[in-house]
């Protein structure tokens, strides 16, 4: 055993470490009168007994959570080729920027004249994103990608209503789309219409022509799409939708593949969102909140949510004077800390650096795809962008080893599994996104592991079917986890019950 200390087979929940009367703090004696809580709080807010909080020392807390963190796998621990939800490395210098006193400790109600630096950063960020996306105006308010989608669709509805087209309510979505697209359309009060992919994985133009009509609100498109494929027909797609009077929405989930090389605005998109937490390397998932700014073409700028940051002379200000605005979508000014990190990323990469990010992301994905396609079925065998979708179909047919088993076996080799079973149009999908920062050595290590697993699936499938064996917990019962979720500690059950 290494010197990192004793590792429990099963880490107890912190309640089980509790010992009556133990404390992790020591406060001076109370020198003000203690109020009677029954007098100052409404009756229905009072507990009959104190909350059963764990009673632990500071050391207990630190060790418990440090041990838990050692069981985690993250991009700071090892390779994390999760397609669909980009997990790229988050440069630590961005944290330094976001931690600066004037950003980290500024109160949102601080008057404008005392927050000119923060406002300048927001103003510049609006312009940077507009330039990168080929858009005319940007809101930084939305808190995540899906929130950006909702904001964007709301803007489109408001704009079309102002043009006497308020009846339009059909949102066209390709069958390869992220699930957030149809969810957004429904939440925004629209109907969804699915359009098929063609043999090359792009939007099938004939199917698209057949579904556009006078009720079409917009098409939502991710390009490159979730197959990692760039739709070369994007101009034709845009023309078909525009001719029917609908607008084009760009889902920016995969902008990191074309950044600096192609701009949604130039391809005919009217509205686009950016995932700062993907394309611009801010932490997400368990690592921090997202941010989903939305860019629009100038005809739609009047409908942006308030406030936007404006500039008059050399003074920055929060502009609430947008009479046709869709209103507020978020308290205060978006996820400000995330925006600061993305700003730091854009400034430290510079225009050439951002282009290289796209180049390297695409190069790495194609390198891996080429290495893997000997052992894994590739439904769309063409040059990909930042990610590709392989399949465990050969393994399933030949030895009953499914993609889920392959994913579990990867854990035994210390690699995070890629996204599995998405997109839905590829059976037994294995969606791999290596990202731009991985070295050739890491990519080759992953390719070797995948080749090894393919060999195991053939020669000793039981090894793959029983995976993982080297992790803290073995194969989880996913069906039972959904059917009988136990998400809260129940003290009355006692430890381990």
């Amino acid at each position: 055993m290494s010197g990192t200390g004793y590792v429990y087979k099963r880490e107890p929940v912190i309640f089980e470490l509790s010992s009556p009367g133990r404390k992790g703090y020591s406060l001076p004696a109370l020198d003000v009168p203690e109020p009677d809580l029954g007098q100052v709080l409404p009756k229905d807010q009072l507990r009959a007994e104190p909350a059963p909080l764990p009673e632990v020392s500071e050391g207990d807390v630190v060790r418990h959570f440090t041990r838990l963190s050692q069981r985690n796998h993250g991009v700071d621990i090892g390779f994390y080729p999760l397609g669909s939800c980009t997990m790229k490395y988050n440069p630590k210098v961005n944290e330094v920027g976001a931690g600066l006193d004037g950003f980290a400790n500024v109160h949102p109600y601080t008057p404008e004249e005392l927050t000119q630096g923060a406002l300048e950063l927001l103003y510049d960020m609006q312009n940077y994103l507009a330039e990168i996306g080929g858009m005319d105006a940007v809101t930084l308010q939305p808190a995540a990608g899906a929130h950006g989608e909702f904001t964007g669709i709301s803007i489109i509805r408001a704009y079309l209503a102002s043009q006497g087209q308020g009846h339009r309510n059909k949102v066209i979505i390709p069958d390869s789309a992220h699930g957030t697209n149809p969810a957004t359309a429904i939440i925004a009060g629209c109907e969804t219409v699915e359009v098929k992919s063609d043999a090359r994985g792009g939007v099938d133009l004939e199917s698209l022509k057949a579904v556009v009509d006078g009720n079409t609100l917009c098409l939502m498109l991710t390009n490159p799409n979730t197959l990692g494929l760039f739709d070369e027909n994007v101009h034709k797609v845009a023309d078909i939708v525009h001719q029917a009077g609908g607008l084009l929405y760009y889902d920016g989930a995969n902008l990191n593949a074309i950044m600096g090389y192609a701009r949604p605005g130039d391809a005919g998109f009217d509205v686009a969102h950016f995932n700062l937490h993907k394309t611009f390397a801010t932490p997400h998932g368990g690592g921090g909140p997202g941010s989903g700014p939305v860019g629009v073409k100038k005809d739609l700028a009047a409908f942006l949510p308030v406030p936007v940051v404006g500039k008059q002379g050399d003074r920055y200000y929060l502009d609430y004077d947008l009479p046709r605005s869709i209103g507020r979508v978020k308290s205060f000014f978006g996820n400000f800390g995330v925006i600061v990190k993305a700003y730091a990323y854009i400034r430290s990469m510079g225009p050439d650096g951002l282009k290289q990010v796209s180049e390297d992301a695409v190069l790495n994905a194609n390198f891996l795809m080429t290495r893997l396609k000997k052992d894994y079925y590739l439904m769309y065998d063409r040059i990909c962008k930042h990610e590709f979708v392989a399949s465990g179909l050969w393994q399933k047919d030949r030895s009953g080893v499914k993609t889920l088993d392959i994913a579990k076996r990867l854990l035994d080799y210390g690699v995070h599994a890629p996204t599995v079973y998405f997109p839905l149009i590829v059976p037994e999908a294995l969606m791999v996104e290596p990202t731009e920062t991985e070295s050739r050595e890491t990519l080759e290590m992953f390719a070797d592991i995948m080749a090894k697993i393919a060999g195991e699936a053939k020669d000793s499938p039981e090894k793959v079917l029983a995976a993982p064996q080297s992790t803290f917990v073995k194969r989880l019962d996913e069906a039972r986890a959904v059917r009988q979720p136990e998400l809260a500690y129940r003290g009355d059950l006692g430890p381990g019950k």
Partner: protein, 135 residues
């Protein structure tokens, strides 16, 4: 896939539902191919009893560990009964898709004959699902 054969007296849709007709009524479920593709089923959203459906209408949603999928009615008619066992034991769809895992029963509508004529019989579906599984 496990060696479950597709019953000869059922009719089948391209979206992998089956229907078994008995006079004016019918029972509907998912095929073995569908349950195999879905993986372990964890939740089923059923139609309301009394609801009228047309052939091809979405009548419910099946959620598995992999995905959430719509289910389409093979024929038109009125829902008369749903399989209550599935709310506690959705795994019946995996264990016995053509039997205990049935989804709902219906009284067939006036268009039933035309609806049923559009469906596949057992040999046709056998070929169809074999092709769908090939790549």
């Amino acid at each position: 896939m496990s060696a479950v054969s597709f019953p000869k007296d059922f009719k089948y849709t391209k979206t992998h539902e089956w229907i078994k007709v008995t006079g004016k009524t019918a029972r509907v479920g998912l095929t073995n191919y569908a349950q195999d593709q879905l993986g372990e089923v964890v939740f089923v959203e059923m139609p309301e009893v009394g609801r009228t459906v047309k052939a091809g209408d979405i009548f419910g949603v099946v959620e598995s560990v992999k995905a959430v999928s719509d289910s389409y009615s093979p024929a038109g008619g009125k829902v008369t009964k749903v399989n209550d066992k599935l709310s506690d034991s959705p795994e019946l769809i995996n264990q016995d898709p053509h039997g205990e895992g049935w989804l709902f029963e219906m009284e067939l509508g006036d268009q039933a004959e035309a609806d049923l004529a559009n469906l596949m019989d057992q040999p046709a579906y056998e070929r169809f699902q074999a092709e769908a599984g090939e790549h």
